[in-house]
Amino acid sequence: MWLHVRLSEVCLFLQAMFILACCFSDMESGPIATSGSVQPNGDRFKIEGRAIVPGVKTQDWISSARVTVEGEEYIGFLGTDGSFVVNDVPSGSYVVEVISPGYKFGAVRVDITSKGKMRARLVNFIKTSEVIRQPYPLQLRSSGPRTYLMKRETWGWTDFLMNPMVMMMVLPLLIIVLLPKVVNTNDPEMRKEMEQSMNMLNPNPELPDVSEFMTKLFSGSKSSSSKAIGGSKASGRPAVKRRWCQNITCTSGLRNYCNWSCHGNYNAIFKKSFFIRLYNCFLSRVFFPSSEIQVCK
C-alpha cells in the first residue's frame, strides 16, 4: 500500500518535472544545435561554483584537483577557498565535474542558453531530458574519500565463530549439552516449572511441538501440520490473559535469522526457556521458511 502511495507521489513529481522541462524546452533545442561546434563569434560564458570537502582544509586537496567540463573540453582550477570559475564556455549543455584523486564529487549538468541563462541539474544519462534542479552557482560537496583499495579478508577466530552456519551448529549443541546439567531434572519443582514453560512455549495447541513435529514429519503427515498452521492463523490468537508478550518472527532474509522483540518484565522462566524458543524458531524456519510464529502467554 505504502509503495503505491509513494509511487503516485513520484509520478506527480515526475509530472511536475516534465512541465518544468517543457518550460525549458525552447533553450533545450539551442544547446543541441550548438554543442560540439564552437561558434566562432558567439558569446562566451563562465561556469561558477564552489567545491567543498567537509572536514578537510582546502590546501590539502585543491592542488591536485581541477574542474573539467565535458571531459577535458574546458578546464578550470580551484581557488584557495575551493571556488572555481570556468571561463570562455560557449552556450550548450555540459557535464561539470570536480576531479580529485582523493575525494568523490558528483557530476552536475549545466545548461547555458544562447543568452547566457544558466541552469544546473542532476546528470541522468538514461533520461537525458529529466530535470532535477541543482543550485547555481554550483555547490559541489564531496561525499567522502574515494575507496580504491580492498581490505584483505583476514582469518580470525571471531569471524569463524560469528559465521551464521557455525552459530546454527554450535548454539543448539551447547543447549543440548549444557541444559540438562544446569537444570536438575530430578527436582520436582523444577520439573513443574519446566512443564509450565513448555506450555507457554506452545500456547497454540495446533502448532506442533518440536518433537511432535519431528515424529509427524517422519511419519509422513506433512500436509496435516501445514493445515493446522493455516487453521491457527485463521482462528486468531486465543484470548488468554497476557502479562507479557514475546514475539519471535522468522523472516526469509539471508542473514536475518531471527528478529525478536520483547515487552514487559522478564522472569526467570523466560530467561531459561528463551534459548529453547530460539532453537524452536530455527527449526521451524528451516521447515516453514516464511511462517510467523507468535508465542504469547
Binding site: I32, V123, I126, L149
Partner: protein
C-alpha cells in the same frame, strides 16, 4: 508482498555477480606500490623561477610546453604539485612571472590572466582578457611596491591589480595596424612605456600614465635598421634601450624617458676600443641579454652581447648613457644568465668542458642566494636539447636530472630480458642437434655441474651478504645484473619519445637503464617500433628497428638497435630513397632468426630488411601468399595488394569510401601476438556457438564530414584484408567521434559520442560462425562462403574516455578485460563480460547457466576497478599490454604525461598462490589434524585393549 520478492531475484543475482567482479578486480591494500610504479613528468621547460620568497625555500616553479604549471622540490626533483591545463593552443602558457608568493601567468595566447598561490598550489584569481594576441607582460611598481601587472596585446594595453585581477584600465594603442607593439617596460616610475616598431622605418615609444592610462607622451624615432624590438633590443641601466643591428654590426642606445626629441646613439662594434676586437660570427644574429632584478627598480647596467654560438661579451653601460665599456670576454661560452640576490648580481656563464658534448643546452636558469657568511651561493637549472632537466648545486654537483622527454612517449614495446649465463648454457644444450647418446649424457652432466656451481655461488653470496650490515647491501638494478625472472614478469620497456630520445626502462623498478638521443629527428616525425628478434635466440642479440618517418615528405630512415643495451647495431639498414607508405613484419625469419620487415614505397616497390639471399629466396617462395593493405584517408581509399616474385606488387582489391560523405579515421587489425584459446562458446542448451576468428580482419572506422548533430554519424566497417570483402558494416547515426576502439578475437568494441542524448556510448560487435564450423582446421579468407552472424549491443558509458586497450595474456585462457583511460587520469579495468552482445534483457534458465549478466543500459564505473588507485596518469595517450610468463598476469603500461606500470589479473591469480596465502594456518591445521589422528589412534588402541580384557 509477493511480487517484490520475485522481482528482487534477478537483482540479487546481479548483486552477486557484482560482488564477484569486485573481488576479482580491486587492488588490495598491501599491494600498493608492490609491483606498480608511476613517474610524473611535465615536459620541456619554457619558463622557470626559483622561489626567492624565503631563504631556505626549496621550491622551483616551471611552466612547460605541455601547458603545465608545476612546483618542484629543488632538493630531490620531485613534484609538489602540478596543474595540467587543456592541451593545445588554448592552454599554452605565454609568460610566467613570479612576485613574492604569487605566480602570474598569461594563458592561451592572451586569453586569460591567472594568479596562483604558489604556497598552496591554488588559484588566487583568473581574469578574462580582451581578445587580441599576446605580446608582452610585466609587473608595474608604484612607490617601490608592485601592485599591478601590465599586459600588452597587439592592439591594446591593460593594467590589472595583482590582488584580485580586476582591470584598472585598458587603452587602445594608436596606429596598431601599422605599428607592431612588441615590448612593455616599467622602471618603477609613474609611467608604463610601450615600444612598437614599424619594421625598417621607425620606433614608437608611448608613455602611459599609471593612474588612468592617459598617454603622457608619444614619440617616434627613426630606425631604418630595426626590424624587431623583441629579438634585438633590451632595456639596460636607467631606462636606456639598447639595440643591436646585424647589418652594420653596431649597438644603438636610446634613453626611453628623454624629454626632447630622442636620437639613437650609434656605437659601432668594430671601432669600439675593445680588446680584443669584437667580431660577429658569420651568419649569426647577435643577441643581447640583460636583467631587471626588481620591477620597482631599473635594470642593471651590465649586459651580455652574444656574438656567436659560443661567444659572449659582458659589457657595461657607462653612467653617461651613451658609451659602453667592455668587462670581460667569454669564449667559448654557450649560455649566459644573470641572477640577483640582495645587492649582489651574479653573471653565470656556461662553458663546455669537452667539445664532444652533442646535447646542446638551450636554456639556463640561475638562482643566486646569500649564504650565512655573506658570500654568494648559486643553484643552476639547465635544460638541454634532449629535454633533460638538470639541477646543479654550488661546487658543480649534479643534484638531480629529470628526463622530461618521457612526458611525450609516442610508442613503446616490452622486450623479454636475456637469460643469465647458466640459463643460456642450458638452453643451448637443447638447441643443438643431437650427436649421439654418450656426448648428450656428458653434456647433460656438465650442464648440471654448471648449475650446481651457480647455485653454490648463489648460496655463498647470500651467506656473505647476510653477515654484512643491512644498509650496505646494494640492491640496484644495473644493465649487467639484468636477467629474466622465473615468471618473466620483469621486462625491458623500450620507449620512443617525440623528441627522438629512446629509453630503456626496467619494468620492475622503473629505473632508466639506457638512453639514446637520436639527432636530426624532425619535430613532426612519426615512429614505428618493431621487434625483429627477441631474446629467445641466444647467442644472437635481440634486435629492434625504429622506423622514423617524416610526416610531410614521407621519407623514412631506420635505426637498428639492441633493446637491452640500447646500443646501435652494426647491421647497416637499407637506404630508403623514396617515401614509405606501409611497413609490415612477416613471420618469416632469416638464418639469424630475425623476422623480415617489408617496406612499401610510393611506387609500390617492396624493400626487405634484412635482405639476405636466404630471405629473398623465402620471399619468392611465399610471395603469392603475402598480402598487404594501404589506406589513403585523403582519398577515402582502402586497397589491398599482393606481393609478386620480383618484389613488385599488384593491386587485387579496392574499397572506396567517398570523402564527401565520410572520412577514414582509423584502421586496425588484430594484434599478431594474440592467442585465442577457445574456438567457441558453450551455450545454455549445450550447443556451441563458434567464433568467427579471421586473422586478416580489419576494422575501419569512419566519421561523417557533416558535423551537424542531426546528420553526423560514425561508421564501422569490417573488411577482410586479403580479399577486400566487407564482412559487416555498422552505422551509428547521430554520433560523432573521437572514436576509440579495440579489435580483438572475434569482437570490436568502439566508443563514440551520441550527439542526440549528449553522452558517451560503448558499442560491441561480436562475430560468430554459427553452431557449425565451416573448416575447423585452418582459416582461409579465400574459402569462407558464409558471412558470419553479427551481434551488437550498445551501452551508455557515464564518462568520456581518452584511450582504450584490451588485456593480453600468454595463451588467452584468462578472461579479457578492457583497460579504459579516463580524462581524470584513472585507468578503469572493465570486464569484457559487461560488453557482451548476448546479455539478455529477460533472464532465462539458459542465460543464467551461461553466466550472462542481464542487460543494463548504463555501464557501471566503480573506483575499485581503477587499477591505478590514486596514482592518476595525466592525459593518458596510450595503454600498452604485454603477456607475462604467467597465464593469469598481464603487464600494463599506461603512458601520457606520466608513465604508470602495473600488473593486472583479469581472472584472479589462479596459477600462483595468492600474496595473502596463510601458510601458518594451513600448516597448523595440518599439524593439529596429524596429532589428533595420532592421539585418537592411541586412545582407540587403549580402548580396544581394555575391551579385550573385559
Amino acid at each position: 508482498m509477493k511480487p517484490p520478492a520475485k522481482m528482487s531475484k534477478p537483482t540479487s543475482l546481479f548483486v552477486i555477480f557484482f560482488s564477484l567482479f569486485v573481488m576479482s578486480e580491486a587492488v588490495f591494500e598491501d599491494q600498493v606500490g608492490k609491483f606498480d610504479w608511476r613517474q610524473q613528468y611535465v615536459g620541456k621547460t619554457l619558463f622557470a623561477h626559483f622561489d626567492s620568497h624565503s631563504q631556505s625555500s626549496k621550491k622551483l616553479f616551471l611552466a612547460t610546453d605541455k601547458n603545465i604549471f608545476a612546483s618542484f622540490n629543488s632538493r630531490t626533483g620531485e613534484l609538489f604539485w602540478r596543474h595540467v591545463d587543456k592541451a593545445g593552443p588554448e592552454g599554452t602558457i605565454d609568460i610566467l612571472l613570479l612576485h613574492g608568493q604569487d605566480a602570474l601567468m598569461v594563458v592561451g595566447g592572451g586569453r586569460l590572466l591567472r594568479s596562483w598561490d604558489t604556497n598552496m598550489g591554488g588559484l588566487n584569481w583568473e581574469a578574462v582578457l580582451d581578445t587580441g594576441s599576446f605580446q608582452a607582460a610585466c609587473f608595474v611598481a608604484m612607490q617601490d611596491t608592485v601592485k599591478h601587472v601590465a599586459v600588452l596585446k597587439k592592439a591594446a594595453i591593460s593594467l590589472h591589480y595583482l590582488t584580485n585581477g580586476h582591470q584598472k584600465w585598458v587603452e587602445n594603442l594608436p596606429d596598431s595596424d601599422t605599428v607592431q607593439y612588441q615590448a612593455v617596460y616599467s622602471g618603477g616610475e609613474e609611467e608604463v612605456y610601450v615600444l612598437g616598431v614599424v619594421p625598417n622605418s621607425h620606433l614608437t615609444i608611448i608613455a602611459y600614465s599609471l593612474e588612468d592610462g592617459e598617454i603622457i607622451k608619444q614619440r617616434s624615432v627613426e630606425a631604418p635598421w630595426l626590424s624587431s624590438v623583441e629579438s634585438s633590443c633590451v632595456v639596460v641601466g636607467h631606462g636606456v634601450l639598447m639595440c643591436v643591428d646585424t647589418a652594420t654590426l653596431a649597438l644603438y642606445a636610446l634613453p626611453i624617458q628623454a624629454e626632447e626629441a630622442p636620437q639613437f646613439n650609434q656605437i659601432l662594434l668594430q671601432v669600439t676600443p675593445v680588446q680584443p676586437r669584437l667580431e660577429v660570427s658569420p651568419g649569426f644574429q647577435p643577441v643581447l641579454v640583460s636583467s631587471q632584478p626588481h620591477p620597482a627598480r631599473s635594470p642593471i647596467s651590465e649586459f651580455f652581447l652574444q656574438l656567436g654560438p659560443d661567444h659572449h661579451v659582458l659589457l657595461q653601460l657607462n653612467a653617461d648613457g651613451y658609451t659602453i665599456a667592455p668587462l670581460r670576454d667569454f669564449q667559448p661560452a654557450f649560455l649566459v644568465s644573470f641572477s640577483t640576490t640582495g645587492e649582489k648580481t651574479v653573471a653565470a656563464v656556461m662553458t663546455p668542458k669537452n667539445e664532444t658534448s652533442d646535447v646542446f643546452p638551450p636554456q639556463l636558469y640561475v638562482h643566486a642566494f646569500l649564504k650565512k657568511d655573506d658570500s654568494v651561493g648559486y643553484r643552476v637549472l639547465v635544460q638541454t636539447q634532449d629535454h633533460a632537466l638538470t639541477f646543479i648545486q654550488q661546487p658543480g654537483r649534479v643534484v638531480w636530472t629529470r628526463e622530461e622527454a618521457l612526458a611525450d612517449v609516442v610508442t613503446m614495446e616490452m622486450v623479454d630480458l636475456p637469460l643469465t649465463g647458466t640459463q643460456a648454457e642450458l638452453e643451448g644444450e637443447f638447441g643443438k642437434k643431437a650427436d649421439g647418446l654418450f656426448p648428450m649424457v656428458l653434456k647433460r652432466l656438465s650442464s648440471q655441474v654448471i648449475l650446481l656451481q651457480a647455485w653454490l655461488a648463489h648460496l655463498w653470496k647470500l651467506f656473505y651478504e647476510a653477515r654484512k650490515p643491512h644498509g650496505q647491501v646494494k640492491n640496484e638494478v644495473t644493465i649487467e645484473t639484468l636477467s629474466r625472472d622465473e615468471f618473466n614478469l620483469q621486462k625491458m620497456m623500450v620507449m620512443v619519445t617525440a623528441s627522438g630520445k629512446l629509453f630503456g626502462i626496467d619494468s620492475k623498478s622503473g629505473s632508466i637503464l639506457w638512453k639514446h638521443y637520436l639527432e636530426n629527428v624532425q619535430p613532426n616525425a612519426v615512429f614505428k617500433l618493431i621487434v625483429q628478434r627477441t631474446t629467445a635466440h641466444f647467442p644472437h642479440p635481440p634486435q629492434c628497428t625504429l622506423l622514423i618517418k617524416d610526416k610531410d615528405t614521407g621519407l623514412a630512415s631506420l635505426h637498428v638497435f639492441n633493446p637491452i643495451f640500447g646500443r646501435k647495431s652494426h647491421i647497416a639498414p637499407p637506404a630508403l630513397p623514396r617515401p614509405i607508405l606501409q611497413s609490415l613484419l612477416l613471420p618469416v625469419i632469416d638464418q639469424d632468426y630475425a623476422k623480415v620487415l617489408l617496406l612499401v614505397d610510393d611506387q609500390y616497390k617492396v624493400t626487405a630488411f634484412p635482405s639476405t639471399k636466404n630471405v629473398l629466396q623465402q620471399l619468392q617462395e611465399m610471395a603469392s601468399s603475402i598480402f598487404f593493405y594501404l589506406i589513403r584517408s585523403d582519398q577515402g581509399n582502402l586497397s589491398g595488394f599482393r606481393l609478386r616474385k620480383d618484389l613488385s606488387t599488384e593491386r587485387i582489391w579496392e574499397v572506396v569510401l567517398p570523402t564527401e560523405v565520410q572520412k577514414i579515421v582509423a584502421v586496425n587489425g588484430k594484434r599478431p601476438n594474440e592467442h585465442v584459446h577457445s574456438q567457441g562458446r558453450v551455450m545454455g542448451d549445450r550447443s556451441v556457438l563458434y567464433k568467427y576468428l579471421n586473422p586478416n580482419l580489419l576494422a575501419v572506422v569512419t566519421e561523417s564530414t557533416d558535423a551537424h548533430p542531426e546528420r553526423a554519424f560514425v561508421g564501422v566497417f569490417l573488411v577482410d584484408g586479403v580479399t577486400g570483402r566487407i564482412i559487416h558494416e555498422a552505422v551509428q547515426r547521430k554520433a560523432r567521434g573521437p572514436v576509440h576502439f579495440v579489435h580483438s578475437e572475434n569482437w570490436v568494441v568502439y566508443e563514440y559520442w551520441n550527439t542526440k542524448s549528449r553522452r558517451n556510448e560503448f558499442s560491441v560487435l561480436e562475430l560468430f560462425e554459427g553452431t557449425e564450423l565451416y573448416n575447423s582446421t585452418v582459416f582461409s579468407s579465400l574459402d569462407r562462403p558464409h558471412l558470419p552472424q553479427v551481434l551488437q549491443q550498445t551501452y551508455i558509458f557515464p564518462s568520456p574516455i581518452t584511450t582504450m586497450e584490451a588485456t593480453l595474456t600468454e595463451k588467452g585462457i584468462t578472461s579479457r578485460h578492457l583497460l579504459v583511460g579516463l580524462p581524470s587520469g584513472a585507468i578503469l579495468s572493465l570486464p569484457k563480460m559487461f560488453l557482451d552482445p548476448r546479455r539478455p534483457e529477460v533472464v532465462t534458465e539458459h542465460s543464467r547457466e551461461e553466466n550472462l549478466i542481464p542487460y543494463a543500459p548504463e555501464m557501471p564505473i566503480r573506483t575499485e576497478w581503477f587499477i591505478n588507485y590514486n596514482q592518476t596518469v595525466a592525459r593518458v595517450k596510450g595503454i600498452y599490454t604485454a603477456p607475462s610468463g604467467l597465464e593469469s598476469t598481464c603487464l600494463v603500461v599506461a603512458y601520457g604525461l606520466d608513465i604508470y606500470q602495473t600488473r593486472v589479473y583479469p581472472s584472479k591469480q589462479f596459477d600462483v598462490l595468492k600474496d595473502d596465502y596463510d601458510y601458518v594456518l594451513i600448516s597448523s591445521v595440518l599439524f593439529a589434524l596429524f596429532f589428533a589422528t595420532m592421539i585418537s589412534k592411541r586412545l582407540a588402541q587403549v580402548k580396544l585393549l581394555n575391551r579385550a580384557w573385559r
